[in-house]
């Protein structure tokens, strides 16, 4: 398929669509938002099920508590806001009112990472994975495309307990649309086999990793690409096995290199099979305004950037 004909869709759109599609199957599902229904795409659900959509106004801390209360009387709340406000502003509410009592609340956080774009650093959350994965019992997922995002929403509803899912604002290529695709919480996927280096990626960076692998192949470097959608609990087996095979690991994420996928992979490898690791991501800096594509390029998260990082590393 030629590049320009690849289907693109933002994972926030997938989120809104799947909430609507799953509404009948999960009659206890209710959706909460904080005055961002148009942006988070829960508006799609609201249009079809207005009585099951609760706009809490611009008050994320209260929204998390309301979700906790709803879950305690039998509802399955999907709470939505931008990642900055869901995981950032309301961190302590998520920790104490949802995580500590281990409630059946799902958090759908959109506009994660720098692909928020023009809004700039205040709204580009590069810390949410780090924050959420420190909460005991919290499942943390970061889908790579439309197919995976839809599967993650369904899996979250089928799972009993708190779940955080990270969605993006920008349209991204659909890469998992093939027969035999299977999704399971806590399971990674080898999306491309290789023997010289392992690229472990999450979210929109899986596509960049695949692009980089193609460029490396032209130079005779065989890169294995592992898609990690569930950052917690981490699929340690798939990472250890790939590291054993290649001996070198590069992690790629649209998130700070502190506390995110890269840190999780390092934790795993340090304890089980130490190999050199390079972490590609936001290098302890804030983002800035710009188009999503320009930012991804500037911060080295596109295929070319990942290719360069891998080359420097080898």
């Amino acid at each position: 398929m030629a590049e320009n004909t690849v289907k693109k869709i933002a994972t926030r759109e997938s989120y809104g669509n799947s909430l609507k599609e799953l509404a009948e199957e999960f009659p206890n599902l209710v959706v909460l938002d904080a005055d961002l229904a148009a942006a988070t795409k829960t508006g799609i659900f609201r249009k079809a099920y207005p009585d099951r959509h609760i706009d809490c106004g611009i008050a994320e801390s209260n929204m998390m508590g309301v979700a906790a209360g709803l879950s305690l009387v039998g509802k399955i709340p999907f709470v939505s806001s931008f990642a900055m406000f869901a995981a950032g502003r309301a961190f302590e509410q998520v920790r104490n009112s949802i995580g500590y009592p281990h409630l059946n609340v799902k958090i759908g956080a959109t506009h994660a990472g720098i692909t928020v774009g023009e809004d700039g650093a205040t709204h580009q959350c590069n810390e949410d994975i780090a924050l959420m994965r420190t909460i005991p019992g919290m499942v943390v997922m970061c889908p790579s495309d439309d197919v995976e995002a839809r599967a993650a929403v369904r899996a979250a509803l089928e799972y009993e307990g708190p779940v955080y899912i990270r969605f993006g604002r920008a349209a991204v290529p659909v890469i998992n649309d093939h027969p035999g695709y299977h999704f399971e919480i806590g399971k990674g996927t080898v999306v491309r086999e290789g023997k010289d280096v392992t690229i472990v990626a999450t979210g929109i960076c899986v596509d960049s990793a695949l692009g980089a692998a193609k460029m490396l192949e032209e130079e005779g470097i065989s890169a294995e690409v592992v898609n990690i959608c569930t950052i917690k609990p981490l699929d340690e087996e798939i990472i250890i096995n790939s590291a054993k095979k290649t001996g070198k690991v590069v992690t790629v994420e649209e998130h700070s290199v502190i506390g995110g996928l890269g840190s999780a992979v390092c934790d795993c490898l340090c304890a089980n099979h130490p190999v050199p690791v390079k972490k590609v991501g936001m290098q302890d800096v804030f983002g800035e305004s710009g188009s999503a594509a320009a930012l991804v390029e500037k911060y080295g998260l596109d295929a070319k950037g990942v290719y360069k990082s891998v080359k420097e590393f080898l």
């Binding site: 809490c56 106004g57 008050a59 209260n62 508590g65 709803l70 879950s71 509802k75 104490n96 009112s97």
Partner: protein, 280 residues
């Protein structure tokens, strides 16, 4: 239950509070004692609950938003039969189920709480869930007067007022003291009643230590339709224990053995007076 009976139960609850905090060598007696009559009325008269079936689906719910006064809640739950009174001194001990702040795994505790400002939001969510399904249970939540300095309280109040959650009863234990001093000298939240009125609550001011007033307030709350109710309970911090009354020092400190003996003697005296009153 007659007022005298309630007073006796409340005195037991106060003994349980002092005993628990003494056993823990830490904890918050002042705000537990100021709310002891409220806890007693809620668990012995007001709420539709069953200690033998703590998870009964259509039970009324209670969220202790001012979670540091867990000794008061635990003592009321113990005396109501949720768990043995003898367990109260294990409060805060390693391995005890009686955690320093309310934990959802304790029989009778409907929500983990203690980080101030968060309990009211959970209560609001429960009340909203009941409304969405036309379920009849009511939801009660108790806040400290210092706690309402937290911004989240007003996010929750705005939401509850806007959504007309008349199955929600918010209570403020207005004992006028917080850790750093009198609330009107730290960062005054007064006027408390007018603030909740402005957030579209029906507001009742009541004496927190007069069971006629407490009973009347809850009745009025139950009969109020179309808006949530806030009862501002005017209380005395440390109520019942002479040296703890109206003293900021006893917000979060446990009595030593000597002080414990004095506190229990104070409460024994009250118990004797109540027994005497019963004989007359």
């Amino acid at each position: 239950m007659k007022n005298l009976e309630l007073q006796k139960r409340a005195n037991d609850v106060r003994k349980g509070i002092v005993t628990a905090v003494h056993g823990a060598k830490a904890g918050h007696p002042g705000g537990s004692l100021s709310a002891a009559d409220i806890f007693t009325f809620l668990y012995f008269e007001e709420m539709n609950i069953d200690p033998k079936n703590p998870d009964m689906e259509e039970r009324d719910r209670f969220v202790l938003s001012k979670g540091h006064t867990a000794p008061g809640l635990y003592s009321a739950l113990a005396y109501r039969g949720y768990f043995p009174v003898e367990d109260l001194p294990t409060l805060r001990h390693l391995g005890s189920y009686l955690q320093g702040h309310p934990c959802i795994h304790i029989p009778g505790v409907d929500m983990s709480s203690g980080s101030l400002g968060q309990g009211i939001s959970a209560a609001v969510g429960m009340a909203l869930g009941a409304k969405m399904e036309n379920r009849d249970f009511r939801v009660y939540t108790l806040l400290g007067d210092g706690e309402i300095e937290e911004g989240q309280v007003w996010e929750a109040a705005m939401f509850a007022g806007f959504r007309k959650l008349d199955n929600l009863c918010v209570m403020v234990d207005n004992n006028n003291l917080q850790i750093d001093g009198p609330i009107d000298q730290v960062c005054s939240p007064y006027p408390i009643d007018k603030k909740f009125e402005a957030f579209n609550f029906h507001v009742i001011n009541a004496d927190a230590h007069d069971f006629d007033a407490i009973r009347a307030a809850f009745k009025e709350a139950r009969e109020t339709k179309g808006m949530p109710t806030c009862i501002v309970f005017h209380s005395l911090k440390g109520k019942g224990v002479s040296f703890m009354e109206n003293s900021v020092d006893w917000h979060g400190k446990a009595p030593n053995d000597e002080e414990y003996a004095v506190a229990m003697a104070d409460l024994d005296k009250i118990e004797k007076e109540l027994e005497k009153a019963g004989e007359q």
